[in-house]
């Protein structure tokens, strides 16, 4: 526990961007977890006499066209965004790891088919286009959004996992495990997996930002979570019709999306830099020069 805290402290000390990313991610998590206690209104409850109110003491971020409190909806929107992002990243990560590890480990024609026909083909066009298409045909709903984003997002993880396996499987400890009679499953799970996991986890951290962005895009197009569940993308879509009379409806959900994406992008970048020995030595040199 103490070692983990020390590592976290060292990680946060490396740069201001790491600290900003970490703080924003903690804030987001806090907002998502404690939304029912922090918010003063039910995010779905309508109050038509109070519609399109500007920010005030009663409604800190104002109200929308149905009189719903934007602060509460933004907080609950964090729940939806994080839930979708975590599920998508887990789904893509597990699928990508499974396919990529199998292809990389098996090699030969199986690897060529998986790599060329599946991974490369899926990566040959923008994932968001396919996600829009899948979501449009599947229909809106939180589960369908997650499914659409997993179908279109696993290939990046598979490519990374495959590349890592191709590198690690040639190392001597794998040869040693094989000569000691370890089965393929044991080699894959007990020896290869722990040694390729780190880059996948970094990719997953950055992937959280991508998934939040993709969910918001789908919700903006009316293909995401269903009303009255609050989603930042859907809130921005609602706001488009009130740019003239209620500009506050645009600003807060836009800031929420930006903060969330920025948080995970910064965290992922900082983590990658932290684990890259070249960057670490540069950081150490900078510290030393001060």
């Amino acid at each position: 526990m103490k070692a983990s805290l020390n590592s976290l402290r060292d990680f946060l000390r490396q740069s201001i961007l790491a600290r900003v990313g970490f703080a924003a991610a903690v804030l987001l998590l806090f907002a998502a977890l404690f939304a029912p206690w922090i918010s003063r209104y039910d995010p779905a409850s309508q109050n038509l006499p109070a519609r399109l109110e500007t920010p005030s003491r009663a409604h800190w971020l104002g109200t929308d066209e149905l009189g719903r409190d934007i602060f509460s909806r933004t907080l609950y929107g964090a729940r939806v965004s994080l839930l979708v992002a975590v599920c998508v990243v887990c789904g893509c990560g597990f699928t990508g790891l499974f396919v990529g590890m199998l292809a990389g480990y098996a090699g030969g024609w199986f690897d060529r088919v998986v790599n060329l026909l599946l991974i490369n083909a899926f990566l040959s066009f923008p994932g968001i286009l396919l996600a829009i298409a899948f979501a449009a045909f599947l229909g809106p709903g939180i589960g369908k959004v997650i499914l659409a984003l997993i179908i279109t997002g696993w290939a990046g993880y598979a490519r990374l996992a495959r590349a890592q396996v191709l590198k690690v499987k040639e190392l001597e400890f794998i040869l040693a495990a094989r000569s000691l009679g370890a089965s393929n499953t044991r080699i894959l799970v007990r020896h290869l997996l722990p040694n390729i996991l780190q880059p996948i986890l970094i990719q997953a951290t950055i992937g959280l930002a991508g998934a939040i962005l993709a969910e918001s895009t789908l919700s903006f197009l009316g293909l995401g979570v269903l009303a009255p569940l609050p989603s930042w993308g859907a809130m921005l879509n609602d706001a488009r019709g009130h740019l003239f009379d209620a500009p506050h409806m645009v600003i807060f959900p836009a800031l929420a999306v930006m903060t969330a994406v920025l948080a995970f992008n910064l965290l992922g970048d900082a983590w990658r830099d932290w684990l890259d020995p070249r960057t670490r030595s540069q950081m150490a040199a900078l510290e030393y020069s001060r």
């Binding site: 083909a121 298409a133 045909f137 229909g139 197009l221 009316g222 959900p253 920025l262």
Partner: protein, 306 residues
């Protein structure tokens, strides 16, 4: 050279096949009966059967697939229900507007990213570099569906300088192109900076400096010219991404292009039109990527000789 082109083309075929197949299969993942979804609950059984037959949905899956591929080979994308016209005609009426917007966005993207990236690399670790770094961070985090309304709020509503939507005069192009190009400008700035940093650390730059050349000449006549190769590649690849990004941008600015048509097809549950739009955007993306790759090998002999 011809062998390299052929190899590259063959590598594109699986992607094209996957696009065609996924687009074909999409109508089969619609929950319930897609024909009922299109015509609504009150449709007469006769109408349902007729539409099912015209879409070949009453045939076995493999027969449908063969029929679909044959139709595509003849350039037939089916019939739109919303517009009561051939899908191909509707799409190609809207396509030029999307291409114009994507091209302008690319110009905006390059106009921001190239000077910013060169400046950041030249002033590495100093205030301009940090400012450019901050711009790219926010550019990457601010999605176009949030940036578009914010730009409208600022430039159309508050300042009254630019029109809110539509495709009338040249002023109409500015906000959609800026919205579409901003995120890509952030990505490209990072690439330009990285490419310039690599070139600036090369021996020939030291020689150029030792000869007494001015900073401008070293930066633009030597380093930038060599950094251009990866930059052109990224620009080409981004053009494809821009085509996909038009779905959101065109919706925000009511731009009469293929992106907005896609959203209209989604709301009208016009599945043949939706399939056509997705197919055309995805194929354009694959083709633009292929052309960029080929251009890359034309301008850099190391690629085709590798």
């Amino acid at each position: 050279m011809a062998r390299h082109f052929l190899q590259r083309f063959l590598l594109t075929l699986p992607a094209l096949w996957l696009v065609l197949t996924l687009v074909f299969l999409m109508i089969h993942i619609v929950p319930g009966d897609p024909v009922e979804q299109m015509l609504g609950e009150g449709a007469a059984p006769g109408e349902l059967a007729q539409l099912r037959h015209s879409l070949s949905l009453d045939q076995p899956l493999l027969t449908q697939y063969g029929h679909y591929l044959r139709q595509l080979a003849h350039g037939d994308l089916g019939q739109s229900f919303k517009f009561q016209a051939p899908v191909r005609r509707i799409i190609f009426e809207r396509y030029p507007a999307t291409l114009q917007l994507a091209f302008l966005a690319l110009v905006v993207c390059a106009a921001i990213a190239i000077p910013a990236g060169v400046l950041a690399a030249h002033r590495r670790g100093r205030a301009p570099d940090r400012a450019v770094g901050l711009f790219t961070l926010f550019g990457l985090a601010f999605p176009n569906f949030a940036l578009g309304p914010v730009l409208i709020l600022l430039f159309s509503i508050e300042l009254g300088l630019l029109p809110v939507s539509g495709r009338g005069g040249p002023a109409n192009y500015i906000l959609p192109a800026a919205t579409l190009g901003a995120a890509l400008a952030a990505i490209l700035t990072r690439m330009v900076r990285a490419a310039m940093l690599e070139e600036l650390s090369a021996d020939y730059i030291r020689t150029a400096r030792a000869k007494g050349l001015s900073t401008r000449a070293v930066l633009f006549r030597h380093a930038f010219r060599n950094a251009l190769i990866p930059i052109i590649t990224i620009l080409g690849l981004q053009f494809g991404t821009l085509l996909a990004g038009t779905i959101v941008t065109e919706t925000i600015f009511s731009w009469p292009g293929i992106g907005r048509l896609t959203v209209q097809a989604i709301s009208a549950r016009d599945y043949p039109l939706l399939q056509g739009c997705i197919l055309v955007i995805a194929v354009s993306y694959v083709v633009v990527n292929l052309l960029t790759d080929l251009l890359y090998s034309v301008i850099d002999p190391r690629v085709r000789l590798a």
